[in-house]
Symmetry: D2
């Protein structure tokens, strides 16, 4: 099952600056070889369900290991069986409507 | 890793009524034996990360099998290493502040 | 426009315990007279769009005033024009499917 | 109060293709003059709280007017009082950590 997922990991108990944690998660996701794209309120990831979810779990484990005692994460994720669609396809289909 | 997760599965392409799909997911989660609580905008689930995530995946697979060609899901999930906390604890700690 | 909204306000930079902030937001929402229901990963609110959104804004302002320098909030919200539906109706329609 | 918001509007009861609705919302937001950035799982918007929230409401009203009887929307939004931060700043601060 292919999934497109928007991941926003928020470490608590480590002050207001969270960019070091977000960057570390970005490194983890890039290491997996999954397609990924950073945006201003999260990171989009695309790939096989199990591989993407394993990456999300690895991010949680790593952020705790970096010292965050608590994490709250928001995820949006989409699957479809009618056709295959990539992250780039999704953005393109909106742009097609805009022209 | 223990997790508390808020799951909101939205099937697309099946009309405006989604309660049959939500109910089926609720049945799946109850079958797993995980602690769960339905609310007006989702279902809270508590347990071991892998077991909870397996339940989420099973819900997606089942909702597709029921005929939904597309699903978009929103998840909030929390983990902590400083102490154990259940869904009931979370609600109780707010109620304690309210009295 | 009637809305059912799930609100999860997360203050950053104030340590790991956030129940005092959640409780204060619950008090604010109850003061508005809007229907509300606390659950383990947020607070559901129901009412007119403008009144509900004013309550959300008031919560952000109050949590900052309590000392949180940064807030990240996750909201799910639903509107429909085909029929009126309350938070209780939503839960009931799932329970009807379960029996 | 300045806000950075991630908006994901999902119309129900209109089939599986939602790009026409997303594109229309993108047009509405661009008309407001607010800074905005489309990504693969939503649209980021930045500006004054009231202006951003007015745009979100206008999107809901327009998507209903286009024929969607039901909408479910997921929003992430951040405010901070310690310093000003733009969408570009957020992405940059992560990139700075990655180099």
């Amino acid at each position: 099952m292919h999934v497109i997922l928007d991941l926003c990991i928020v470490p608590l108990g480590v002050g207001v600056s969270v960019s070091a944690y977000v960057a570390e998660c970005h490194r983890i996701i890039q290491t997996t070889g999954l397609k990924t794209q950073l945006h201003a309120y999260g990171t989009n990831i695309e790939g096989d369900w199990d591989a993407v979810m394993a990456a999300v779990k690895q991010c949680h484990e790593r952020v705790h290991a970096m010292g965050a005692p608590r994490i709250t994460t928001t995820i949006k994720l989409g699957t479809r069986t009618d056709r295959s669609q990539s992250m780039a396809d999704k953005v393109q289909s909106v742009h097609d409507q805009l022209t």
